[in-house]
């Protein structure tokens, strides 16, 4: 045991040898620290991606403990529900009761199941109400819990009214309320996963919300094609096509801007899901447009679009896990930042007065 007493008021009785300079033997004229950092740096610069140092190749981050299908399902269902609420409100307002019915029911089902998935993934599910213990704008999960707490009852009343035809005024108000919260329900999960140190999620934080609402629109439109009567499907079809376009464009933009931390989006499990998502989305969109006069073709296309949306969420989820489990994605971008002389200071890079703006690092905006 140490003889010294290190208290809040300072050290008492510190050891005289405490200041030993391990590794340095000045008396002999020999010195420690003969390593030349310059050479090591030059070596790194030549092959920046392959050559990085780590602690036995072990991950730096503790990877998320979130599991599939709970969390990717939660992301997918939230998107489906949120976008369906907006679509349902539009359908109700434009006199399409069939589409209004299917969309509001999808919104309620998606919202409820999304909540169930979130609670099921908790380490202490019985304590799920602790989510409503505080309101924290710095925690997207807190914001989301409050959103869902307000949204799900509204979606329930809207769906009940649309299905039974009762209480039309209350139903209209609830439909409007759910449609007002729906876009937030569809998009907050993007902030939720981006607000982590997981490289593939955090570095995509600018585009992720657009990917998520695009994916939500794809799912809501697709579900309309599956469940609504053919003659009321036109807005669902248009929304699905818009959603596919937005989703594919945002993913592409995100991968290009991110650089190396986007690798997991095209490799491994994450890459496979995202490739499947692209194929399903394009096939679904094409089928939805070409088969618009055929009930079965529309339903099949709709199912493909819903599956595409789910595959996107599964792909993003797994890509995040991959990027957290490989120290490369943590070390290399940070090391690069340091070597280029633009370390992550607390200074926000968007402030006009900053001197770092011209060399602003990718993934730091």
């Amino acid at each position: 045991m140490s003889e010294s007493e290190v208290t809040r008021d300072g050290v008492r009785g510190g050891r005289p040898d405490r200041e030993a300079t391990t590794g340095a033997v000045r008396a002999d004229g020999r010195q420690g620290g003969r390593r030349r950092r310059g050479r090591a740096r030059a070596e790194r610069a030549m092959v920046p991606d392959a050559d990085f140092r780590s602690y036995y190749g072990m991950p730096i981050l503790n990877p998320p403990v979130w599991t599939a299908p709970d969390i990717p399902g939660y992301l997918f269902l939230g998107g489906l529900a949120g976008a369906s609420s907006v679509l349902g409100a539009g359908a109700r307002a434009s006199g399409r009761p069939g589409l209004a019915r299917s969309s509001t029911v999808a919104a309620l089902g998606g919202g409820l199941l999304s909540l169930v998935a979130l609670v099921h993934d908790l380490g202490k599910p019985a304590r799920f109400l602790n989510m409503l213990r505080v309101v924290k704008v710095t925690s997207p999960m807190s914001v989301g819990s409050w959103l869902l707490a307000g949204y799900v009852p509204l979606a329930g009343v809207a769906a009940a009214s649309a299905v039974t035809g009762r209480l039309p005024r209350v139903g209209a108000a609830a439909t409007t309320g759910a449609a007002a919260l729906g876009p937030a329900v569809a998009s907050y999960t993007a902030a939720l996963i981006s607000d982590t140190a997981v490289p593939a999620w955090h570095d995509g934080h600018r585009e992720m919300p657009y990917v998520f609402v695009g994916s939500g629109a794809t799912a809501a439109g697709g579900l309309g094609l599956v469940a609504a009567p053919l003659r009321e499907q036109a807005p669902a079809r248009a929304l699905a096509v818009l959603g596919v376009g937005a989703e594919l464009a945002s993913v592409e933009l995100m991968e290009r801007r991110m650089g190396m931390t986007a690798e997991p989006y095209s490799s491994g499990t994450g890459g496979r899901y995202l490739r499947a998502s692209k194929v399903l989305a394009l096939a679904g969109a094409a089928g939805a447009v070409l088969g618009r006069r055929n009930r079965i073709a529309s339903a099949l296309s709709g199912a493909a679009l819903v599956a595409a949306s789910a595959a996107t969420r599964w792909g993003i989820f797994h890509a995040g896990l991959q990027s957290a489990e490989d120290p490369k994605y943590t070390v290399v971008p940070q090391r690069q930042r340091l070597e280029e002389g633009r370390p992550a200071t607390g200074t926000p890079t968007t402030t006009p007065t900053t001197t770092r703006t011209p060399a602003a690092p990718a993934g730091e905006h």
Binding site: V134, Q334, R335
Partner: protein, 338 residues
């Protein structure tokens, strides 16, 4: 615009974390910020800190998956729910220079130790150097081509702690000492704090579901005692104290090491302007941080949160716009019948 600079100050840069956490009156009125300075240059890898931490905090045993991992002498592998102090062992083919025990030199020609009374030497103990000792430990060793880096890792108690920021239940909180502690009676195991931590510190205890990490011995601090790991450290590699004082001590130590030619010594987490606003527990390292399993340039993820919310808002609006466009397109094409 008036709220934004305040928000930025709350999310990044140098700050008084206890005051941000609501302690005191904003200009003080709370105890000084306490922390650790872990000087790895004198760590001997004894793992007394790991053991003391486990004992004091009643942390359950944990074994690495698949038995002994063979990563030098490291069998705890990294920080997690059941490892709040972790000693890293790094073996390097790199010249170190001889070890200087700091004892008076003997005549190098005198190697006959037959007359030595080892019992009386043992009676003297090892903490004070005898006036003259001809035994070989007093001889400086030759410079080898092997060095062993050891470092006791711990929760950094960041100035801007992502785990605390993202916790949806308020289970994680900022103490009056500026440290970050989990309230286990509130944690519902949502797991958000785990990927939020840029250092990989906090983790979920599998059979319990909740998140656990170093408390900087909040219970001991409350009665004026130093944390268990610092108390147990035989070389004072782990030093505990007011952060201001630790920073001064670390600067002096670094200057001394640089003077003696150990140019690769560097402080890690000491700078209040780094990506997390400085660490409450910072380190003196003898190689790059990633060699010890530490991120070279960590950033608190919530620094970018205002921008994330902005994009979330814009995306939400574009969803409304997209649905409106979808309905508008049906009017243009007369698509109601299709």
């Amino acid at each position: 615009m008036t709220a934004e600079p305040q928000l930025r100050h709350a999310l990044s840069g140098d700050a008084d974390p206890a005051a941000l956490g609501g302690h005191g009156d904003g200009t003080g009125g709370h105890p000084p910020r306490m922390g650790f300075f872990t000087d790895t240059s004198v760590c001997i890898g004894c793992k007394a800190c790991e053991v003391a931490c486990k004992e004091w905090n009643a942390i359950p045993a944990d074994f690495p998956d698949g038995g002994f991992p063979g990563t030098s002498m490291d069998n705890s592998q990294g920080l997690g729910a059941d490892t709040w102090r972790h000693v890293a062992f790094v073996e390097q083919r790199r010249p170190l220079g001889g070890q200087d025990p700091g004892l008076p030199r003997a005549d190098p020609t005198q190697h006959d130790l037959g007359h030595l009374d080892v019992l009386s030497l043992a009676g003297q103990g090892s903490s004070s150097a005898p006036a003259h000792i001809p035994a070989s430990p007093a001889e400086p060793g030759a410079a080898g081509d092997f060095r062993w880096l050891m470092s006791s890792d711990v929760c950094k108690h960041c100035t801007h702690a992502a785990c605390l920021d993202v916790c949806p239940t308020g289970s994680l909180f900022r103490t009056e000492f500026g440290t970050v502690v989990v309230q286990e009676d509130i944690c519902n195991g949502c797991g958000y704090c785990i990927p939020a931590c840029p250092y990989g510190v906090i983790d979920q205890r599998k059979d319990d579901g909740r998140a656990w990490k170093c408390t900087l011995c909040y219970d001991r601090l409350g009665v004026g005692a130093e944390p268990a790991c610092a108390k147990a450290c035989p070389t004072d590699s782990i030093q505990f104290g007011p952060l201001e004082e630790l920073r001064e001590r670390a600067d002096a130590r670094l200057a001394r090491l640089h003077d003696t030619g150990i140019t690769e010594a560097r402080l890690y987490g000491r700078d209040p302007d780094d990506g997390v606003g400085g660490d409450g527990a910072f380190f003196l390292l003898l190689d790059e941080p990633e060699v010890y399993g530490l991120p070279p340039d960590p950033v608190v993820t919530t620094r970018d949160l205002p921008r994330m919310w902005k994009h979330v808002g814009m995306a939400a609006l574009s969803l409304v716009g997209g649905v409106a466009a979808a309905f508008a397109s049906t009017i243009v094409t007369g698509g109601r019948r299709r």
